[in-house]
């Protein structure tokens, strides 16, 4: 049996690759037969000429025998497919414009999907590169219950990390990391870069050998930590040109550190904060920030923890143990600092999540937008497919005669359908290649928007991308090829031959109209989505944050190791503030305790007669200079702002935000009320002297977030933050350098100042809305173009088919305006049906979009109206050309051509 299959296989492979040889052999064999027969006849006494004729005659039709022999040999599937491919290639080459149009359409559709697949895959499914056994590696989370809510948290203190590492048995290993920004380099060439500080065992999670040198050891990651650094491959390439740097020194933060290794190419760890430029021992960072006490300082939660679950331990068992460990750790904290209190049952809960941050409880906006956009991309692909199916159908109609002839000559319908399908497959393969090219080179910026820590992937060699493209190809081939293939099978031979290419079939035109309506409807849905997102973005842009960030610069100092007492800090700040005020262009300067979307200071508060203030909202403390409100542009709604008169010795004052006043003293006048810090019963009253508009410091739409403002002059014991906000005239970018240079002069040692527009901090928070608006608009526009092309081609094709009918009308005296109206009317009718259909779907589906929109009604009639009008205009425009052509039909010529 096996031998027989093998022999068949060899035979077929041979006949496939040596087609010409086999054919020549057969020829020779038959010739040899005739020669032998001739020879025999000659031996029998027939004259040579007669003998050959006789031999040939008795042999029968040579071609016929050859054909039968070929059949006996069998035609392989591959051979037939190759023939189909050759045939399809010829057909595609013959219609270059058609082919290019279809391939571009499909490439755009597949490219959009490949891009979005890559992003969603990266955010949700793909494990960080080189991570070993990613399904057993978890991020650790701690659910905490406070007065307001239960929330997940993944920042832990160093001693908590040590507690976990020491006690957990469900995990084989527990590692910690954090990715702050460090100032790297010396003098003028200092740059701020993301640097991952990690425990030494962090590297054990990966199958990664250092490209040069080594990673740091546990000994180097203890006590104050060794001054060693492992460079990232890209940083090494760009800064050192890839030369041998092991043993050299580089200044990272304050100290000079010895380079001990270079990470392998493409290694980023599990960072979500951009590609780290280098890696440092985590103890080193902790020691530099908090001194030797860092191992017992529970108040500072900053690092993230990952752990590898032991084989055979269930997730549930691991989480139960983790909860116990968190509670014990809390008790350890309480033993040191009684302010911690003891956790009540249910206050704390441990949870383990996948290594992909976006799949855990703290998933960000990006993955949500990415999922939406992926869905939108799929709709674009459907539109592209409908478009291509329509074009193929139109062409199949044009080729009806050809198909009928081939049917009449005996080609089987199955074989014809296969040939048409081969064409679709070929087109979608070309489209997929184009799509991958778009995903590779055209969409890098989109990838970067969604994924800050993206390392470039080559989509052509990445198995998952290629598999996706292959799946998309099959889907597209089926979607675009099936209808024309099935239709061709139903060709009525005699009628098609009789009618030629001329007659138009109502059935066909109905299929194509439905496809067209589908396209229009889908485009309507996308464009309405785009419209809603654009409105939502403009709402977010126009949203009053409670301050004017446009003209404000934010300056922050990096002390880089200089240690200052509270008094030294205060005097340094005063010098900085005065210096900043003297810089030309700067109009107002203030101290900043909390900075929008950067760092916030929240403290326990109390007010006589009001209980549990902490359950009434999140209150963010702002400690400002007298110019605070003028600098920020925050308006005072009632009472007064604090000013230069509110100083040490005068009555202690506070300004609260409107929302805060309502939350703490609902229904009564906040002015004159007393607010105290709740850390001791003797903390003095601060009298509310003013109410300011609501300020958004942490998020755009959290209604429980409020702010209150205290003059710095009345808080002399409070070490000032060495950061300030400055309002400037004109474009803020122009003043950055002057301000930076002036402030830098005041700084001690290697400390330096970092100045940037406040907008830079605000903008990223608009990102999810901006992303949504951009992606929806881009894809919506693509859909509109595709739909317009589709409409144009269908109408134009119909016109070409009905030329004869039109010219008869002209010949019979129909005015050209009537013809024009007829053509445009047909287009407008199709578009209108699609509009109504798409509009209804959008109306029904819109509420699901609500969460993605910023203060935007998902059923905004203005958006629906504008989209409807746009499509109608686009639709009519698409029919104009064919309509002009129809109106200019010359009956003489057309009828003569027939």
């Amino acid at each position: 049996m096996i031998a027989r299959v093998w022999s068949e296989f060899v035979y077929r492979v041979r006949s496939m690759f040596r087609r010409a040889d086999v054919e020549r052999e057969l020829d020779a064999e038959l010739r040899s037969h005739i020669e032998h027969e001739t020879a025999r006849l000659v031996r029998d006494g027939v004259s040579p000429t007669d003998a050959e004729r006789q031999a040939r005659a008795s042999f029968g039709g040579i071609e016929r025998i050859k054909e039968d022999t070929r059949d006996a040999r069998g035609v392989s599937f591959v051979e037939q497919t190759l023939a189909d491919v050759r045939y399809a290639l010829r057909a595609l080459r013959a219609h270059k414009a058609f082919t290019i149009g279809v391939v571009i359409t499909l490439a755009l559709g597949i490219g959009a999907n490949a891009t979005m697949f890559g992003i969603v895959d990266r955010l949700l499914f793909r494990a960080p590169s080189a991570l070993r056994d990613p399904e057993t590696v978890h991020r650790l989370y701690r659910y905490e219950r406070d007065a307001l809510e239960v929330s997940a948290n993944r920042s832990f203190s160093y001693p908590t990390y040590l507690d976990l590492k020491r006690s957990l048995t469900s995990f084989t290993d527990v590692a910690a990391f954090y990715t702050p920004r460090y100032s790297v380099g010396d003098g003028e060439s200092v740059v701020e870069l993301p640097v991952t500080v990690a425990s030494a065992n962090y590297f054990n999670y990966f199958d990664a050998r250092p490209f040069r040198g080594r990673f740091f050891t546990a000994a180097e990651d203890s006590a104050e930590g060794a001054q060693v650094v492992v460079l990232g491959y890209d940083f090494w390439q760009s800064q050192f040109g890839g030369r041998d740097v092991i043993g050299e020194q580089i200044r990272v933060g304050a100290p000079l550190r010895t380079i001990i290794g270079v990470a392998p190419r493409g290694f980023v760890g599990v960072s979500d904060q951009g590609v780290p430029a280098m890696w440092l021992p985590i103890s080193n960072f902790a020691f530099a920030s908090r001194g030797a006490a860092y191992t017992t300082y529970y108040e500072w939660s900053w690092l993230e923890v990952i752990a590898r679950r032991r084989l055979g331990v269930t997730r549930q068992a691991a989480e139960t143990e983790l909860t116990g460990a968190f509670i014990r750790s809390w008790r350890n904290a309480y033993a040191i600092n009684k302010e911690w209190g003891t956790p009540e049952a249910g206050d704390l809960r441990g949870a383990i999540g996948p290594i992909q941050l976006e799949r855990g409880p703290q998933a960000g906006e990006n993955s949500r937008v990415a999922k939406w956009t992926a869905g939108v991309a799929l709709i674009v692909l459907l539109i592209a497919c409908a478009n291509v199916a329509n074009l193929l159908l139109a062409r199949a109609l044009g080729r009806r005669r050809e198909i009928a002839v081939r049917l009449a000559l005996g080609a089987s319908r199955g074989r014809l359908a296969r040939q048409l399908l081969t064409e679709s497959v070929l087109l979608s393969v070309l489209g997929a290649i184009g799509g991958l090219a778009i995903a590779q080179w055209g969409a890098t910026s989109i990838r970067r928007w969604f994924i800050p820590s993206e390392v470039t992937v080559n989509v052509f060699t990445d198995m998952r991308m290629v598999a996706f493209a292959a799946a998309a190809t099959i889907l597209v081939a089926l979607l675009t090829g099936l209808v024309p293939a099935v239709r061709s099978g139903r060709t009525d031979v005699s009628r098609s031959l009789k009618d030629g290419a001329r007659g138009s079939s109502l059935q066909h035109s109905r299929t194509r109209s439905s496809l067209l309506i589908l396209q229009v409807a889908l485009s309507v849905v996308l464009l309405i989505g785009a419209g809603l997102f654009v409105r939502s973005l403009s709402n977010a842009n126009d949203y009053r944050l409670g301050y004017d960030a446009d003209q404000v610069l934010f300056a922050t100092t990096r002390l880089r190791g200089s240690r200052l007492t509270t008094a030294e800090r205060a005097s340094l700040f005063d010098r900085l503030e005065n210096a900043a005020r003297a810089v030309p262009g700067v109009t107002h300067v203030t101290h900043a305790q909390s900075v929008p979307f950067s760092g916030n200071d929240m403290r326990p508060l109390a007010s006589p007669g009001v209980d549990s203030i902490s359950a009434r909202g999140r209150f963010i403390l702002q400690i400002g200079s007298p110019d605070y409100f003028a600098t920020m542009g925050t308006r005072i709604v009632r009472g007064r702002a604090f000013g230069a008169g509110d100083r040490l010795g005068s009555e202690r004052v506070v300004v609260v935000s409107e929302g805060m006043a309502n939350a703490i003293w609902p229904g009564s006048d906040p002015l004159g009320k007393c607010l105290r810090f709740a850390w001791s019963d003797t903390a003095p009253c601060m009298t509310v002297v003013g109410v300011a508009e609501e300020m958004h410091l942490r998020s755009f739409d959290d209604s429980r977030e409020h702010a209150y403002y205290v003059p710095r002059l009345q808080m002399p014991d409070e070490p000032p933050q060495l950061q300030l906000l400055a309002r400037v005239n004109g474009a803020p970018e122009r003043s950055i350098e002057a301000l930076r240079r002036r402030l830098q002069r005041e700084l001690p040692g290697s400390a330096y100042i970092y100045v940037r527009p406040l907008m830079q901090l605000v903008e990223p928070n608009l990102r999810s809305w901006r992303l949504g608006a951009t992606m929806f608009t881009a894809f919506g526009a693509l859909a509109l173009v595709l739909a317009a092309i589709g409409l144009h081609s269908v109408i134009a094709y119909d016109m070409a088919q009905r030329k004869r009918d039109l010219s008869l009308r002209v010949a019979l005296g129909a005015p050209t305006s009537r013809l024009f109206g007829m053509v445009v009317g047909r287009g407008a009718r199709l578009v209108t049906v699609g509009l109504v259909l798409g509009g209804s779907v959008a109306m029904w589906a819109a509420p699901w979009l609500k969460e993605q929109l910023f203060q935007q009604d998902p059923r905004d009639l203005a958006v629906f109206g504008v989209v409807g009008l746009t499509l109608l205009i686009a639709g009519v425009a698409a029919t104009l050309m064919p309509a002009f052509r129809a109106a200019r039909v010359d009956p003489n010529q057309v009828l003569r051509d027939e």
Binding site: A3, R4, S7, E8, E29, S32, H36, I65, D68, R73
Partner: protein, 110 residues
């Protein structure tokens, strides 16, 4: 065409295998040999000989090789493979049983 019989379906393969069981032969020689042995009763239809040969080759029962014939002409020689020999044995047994059975039926009827 007096005295000549068209081959029943399927017997051609058997005859070819049988003929080739003695020695390797080329197409014309096979048909000639069958003609001679059957005393000119069985004429191999030229139109089916070559399709049959190629079919048998595809199944791996015979293999082909180019060589020179008696009168020094180039010809494609077929020879029986091991598989072909086994097939021939099976088919011969089948054939004998069939002819015997057909004989019984015919005799009974007579």
């Amino acid at each position: 065409m007096t005295g000549r019989i068209d081959l029943p379906q399927g017997t051609l393969d058997l005859l070819i295998l049988k003929t080739l069981s003695l020695t390797a032969m080329h197409g014309w020689a096979i048909s000639e040999r069958i003609r001679q042995i059957s005393k000119e009763v069985v004429m191999v239809p030229q139109g089916s000989l070559y399709p049959a040969l190629h079919r048998l080759e595809r199944r791996g029962w015979i293999s082909a090789e180019w060589g020179a014939s008696d009168n020094n002409r180039k010809a494609k020689f077929y020879k029986l493979t091991a598989a072909g020999r086994k097939q021939l044995a099976e088919d011969s047994k089948l054939w004998e049983r069939l002819t015997a059975a057909v004989g019984l039926v015919m005799d009974a009827r007579a």
